[in-house]
Amino acid sequence: MSRQYVIRRILLMIPSIFGISVVLFTVLALAPGDPFSELAANPAIPPEVAAALRAKFGLDDPVWTRYYHWLIAMLHGDWGFSFASRINVETLILQRLPTTLVVIGAAQLLAIVVALPVGVLAGTRPYSIFDQIANTLAFVGFSLPTFFTGLLLILVFSVQLDWLPMVYRTDISGAGWQWYWEQFKQSIMPIAVLGLFQGASLVRYVRSAVLDVVRLDYVTTARSKGIGERSVIARHIVRTALIPVVTLVALQMPVIFGGALVTEQIFRVPGIGSLLISAMLSNDTPVVMAVTFVLSCLVVFFNFIADILYGWLDPRISYR
């Protein structure tokens, strides 16, 4: 892999990010809805107030002027402010970021921790009882939507058993162990719902990746050399099989930032996902724009990382 290639890839990212921002901005500007419709519908508030706010926030300007203003501000590091709360968008996002990273990050981790051993075991013993069970559970897992499993868990653990809280709070009182215990109790359901959902599909990926490798000649060679089964799996099979899985996981990283719309709504997790959905419902375009834009930048960036990783993990793949 040449340095030239890396530089070229980095330069190519600029027009694609620019293109994305144009598309996002236009779509949002053309979408129906109005951030001040609630004001307009309230007879106690004179129409001039909504009109003055529209003028003040520049909503009456043509789309391209608004885009130009947005772009210039963005290049200066000014993300704009939310129409609904009149707070700077970056403050809003930073407020939501820790919770998102903790909950969604833990869910991703859970998915990997569950999927890796299960997938590898299932792949090395195809069509065994273990494989069949793992496969069935994986299918069930990714066929059930999160809003269903979420509600099911709430009904069982919150309503029936009264073990776990159904509302996620960011201001738990208490210190030390008590705090961790409360945090653990309230996070366990959203993390389980998300983690198992993603883990289920990951199991299938890992299994098929392992299956591809397990019959290759070099594995047979390793076995015939008399290397123990454990180290054949760990050293020879998993290492090779994981290359596509690593890319897949890398590409899912932006999702951690984006949060999970449905699950966050069900458990009232105040993450980026719920910020995005409430901003969309109230037509709070600066927030929607910022979140989606950051998300697409991350996707572009992690795509780049994945490409680089690919070349590094498997030197046979060469870029020019």
């Binding site: 129906p32 001040f36 007879p43 709360s85 939501r96 509302v167 709070r169 009182s173 409430s278």
Partner: protein
């Protein structure tokens, strides 16, 4: 009801032959609000009733942590920029008005020492001024004293057009003067029967001058206190995450003895109404949940959880059907439909409107859809005889509809749909996507079918339907169809604003970007003249009579068909005591909330 009858009623209240409560109920039956009714009494010299206190705890604090759930969280905490009730409710923990409205429409003093009245001259006999005395021992959360200057400042702050405050309507047409450090006088240009708007209730919360004086007008967004409220309220600010969480701790120097009860509170936002109800009624995780627009059947099932109860308080919300008076189907050269000057092909005939009004089965809508959370409403009023009788009846009568239409010559065609002169009785009936509304549509459609009227139902996403987007044809203000249904709110106590929606000059048109409030585009010289007379009327009683007549005109001409008066529905933990009021914020008496030990 005319002016003389109204005066008679007021006289009855004075002599004690009619209870205040009875008077208020009658005024509500003719379309006035409870606060309007009590103001009428006050200006006629009948003192406001003392709002009873139900507060039991004998010391401040010790109540632990109060957890309340708003499924739409507060997004800003400056009451002058509050967009919806969620923001006002959140602000009310920290900021207070001079007085609040209780459930019966009586004023309860908060920062005011007493309620102005005619007896001590604080309510001017000519109705042109009202004098408020404020409490002297009140301190802002940062220790600075609260004075008349703060009150005066709020008037200056909110009326500044550059600030675009949502409270501007309350303050822009009045003048406020400082009399002394603890007295302010609100002056009106004309005698104003509705004198308690400024500094009262949801729009009246008072922010501190010393923290906002540098951030008036266009600079309003930069005030750091926007995000960290410093008020006079029972709780002091701790933390705020827009849309997610507002937290606060007890104000140890609160100006009312032994209050508040709770040591701290959190107001959590997000999620949906059903699960909010569940968190209070079934799991008991929260003490209070706001605005549960959920079918009563579901609420009843959740209530079996035994952890809480549903609290229902009547307010001014009216679910109603509007009948288009213009032609929604023939666009003009510019593509504008429902344009002024056109006539609806079939709804222009009174008999068709009459038939439709008896085809809305309000009883079934109440019984099968809204349950405890709404009451079938008759007309606002048809004539005084009716609202005097306690069993006011509205009609659901398919036979009568058939008879009316037969008589007018609308004949059923081969397809069972009535027609006359080649025009068929086919209507498109739109509303927002919301389960109870779709069920109501189905009930109306079914009845209309039996009368030979074909209804095509249409449901539009709420965020589109209620938007003021000029480019979208499906907004309620464009009204590009024959019938439409939604809820109008009349929580603002003065009916003048509310009744503007039938004024000819308020007609929504392309020229005013459909900002006009008259959505049905109904135009009646009689109504306009009556309304103008009401605006210019100096005598409060005459004015009230005029507004009652305005209501009559709207109902008699079937401009709209009222369906259900929707109540405010909240869930409360069994032990929680909180008084709800339909005329003020949900947290209007948050200082009085307490729990049984």
């Amino acid at each position: 009801m005319n002016e003389r009858e109204l005066r008679g009623l007021i006289a009855h209240v004075k002599t004690g032959r009619l209870s205040r409560r009875g008077f208020v109920r009658r005024m509500m039956a003719v379309g006035l609000t409870a606060p309007m009714a009590t103001q009428l009494l006050a200006i006629s010299g009948v003192a406001m009733a003392q709002s009873p206190s139900t507060y039991k705890p004998t010391k401040r604090g010790g109540g632990g942590h109060l957890k309340v759930l708003w499924w739409q969280g507060a997004t800003l905490l400056n009451p002058h920029f509050a967009v919806g009730t969620k923001d006002q409710d959140g602000s009310r923990f920290f900021y207070e008005p001079l007085a609040g409205w209780d459930a019966n429409g009586n004023l309860k003093p908060v920062l005011a020492e007493s309620i102005p009245g005619r007896e001590d001259g604080t309510l001017a006999a000519d109705g042109k001024s009202v004098t408020w005395k404020v409490k002297k021992n009140v301190k802002w959360h940062d220790g600075k004293p609260f004075t008349a200057d703060d009150v005066l400042f709020n008037w200056e702050y909110a009326r500044d057009p550059a600030a675009a405050a949502t409270t501007s309507a309350t303050y822009k047409d009045v003048k406020v003067e400082k009399v002394d450090d603890y007295t302010v006088k609100v002056l009106f240009d004309a005698p104003t029967p509705f004198w308690a708007l400024a500094f009262v209730g949801a729009q009246g919360m008072i922010i501190p001058k010393h923290l906002f004086a540098d951030y008036m007008g266009a600079k309003s967004r930069d005030a750091p206190t926007n995000l960290k409220p410093v008020g006079t309220g029972p709780y002091m600010f701790k933390d705020f995450k827009p849309g997610d969480m507002v937290t606060g701790v007890i104000n140890p120097n609160y100006h009312d003895a032994n209050k508040p009860y709770f040591d701290s509170f959190e107001m959590k936002g997000g999620g949906d109404a059903v699960s909010a109800a569940r968190a209070v009624l079934q799991t008991g995780e929260y003490d209070f949940a706001w605005n549960l627009q959920v079918e009563d059947e579901i609420l009843q099932r959740l209530e079996k959880g035994g952890k809480g109860r549903v609290s229902i308080s009547p307010g001014g919300n009216m679910e109603h059907i509007q009948l288009n008076t213009t032609d929604p189907w023939t666009p003009d050269a510019d593509g504008e439909r429902s344009k002024l000057g056109t006539k609806h092909p079939t709804l222009q005939f009174p008999e068709v409107r009459q038939a439709l009004s008896v085809l809305v089965d309000k009883d079934s809508v109440e019984k099968y859809i809204y349950g405890r959370t709404g009451n079938a409403t008759a007309n606002f009023v048809n004539n005084p005889e009716k609202f005097r009788s306690k069993n006011t009846k509205y009609e659901f009568n398919v036979d009568k509809a058939n008879e009316i239409l037969d008589k007018a010559g609308w004949k059923k065609g081969a397809d069972g749909i009535r027609e006359k002169d080649g025009k068929k009785l086919k209507f498109v009936y739109q509303t927002s996507i919301n389960q109870p509304r779709q069920k109501t549509q189905a009930i109306v459609k079914q009845a209309c079918q039996k009368a030979g009227i074909d209804i095509e139902v249409k449901a539009v996403t709420a965020s589109v339907f209620f938007s003021s987007d000029v480019a979208n044809p499906d907004t309620y203000t464009k009204f590009y169809c024959d019938l439409q249904m939604y809820t109008v709110t009349m929580t603002q106590p003065d009916p003048e604003l509310f009744m503007k929606q039938f004024l000819s000059e308020e007609q929504a048109t392309k020229a005013n970007k459909w900002q006009g409030r008259n959505i049905t585009r109904w135009s009646s010289k009689e109504y306009d003249d009556n309304f103008k007379a009401g605006q210019a009327e100096l005598d409060p009683v005459k004015r009230a009579a005029i507004f009652i007549k305005a209501n009559d005109l709207v109902i008699a001409n079937q401009v709209v068909i009222p369906v259900i008066a929707r109540h405010a529905v909240q869930a409360m933990a069994n032990k929680l005591h909180a008084n709800m009021s339909g005329w003020d914020n949900n947290t209007w008496d948050i200082q009085d909330w307490f729990k049984d030990a």
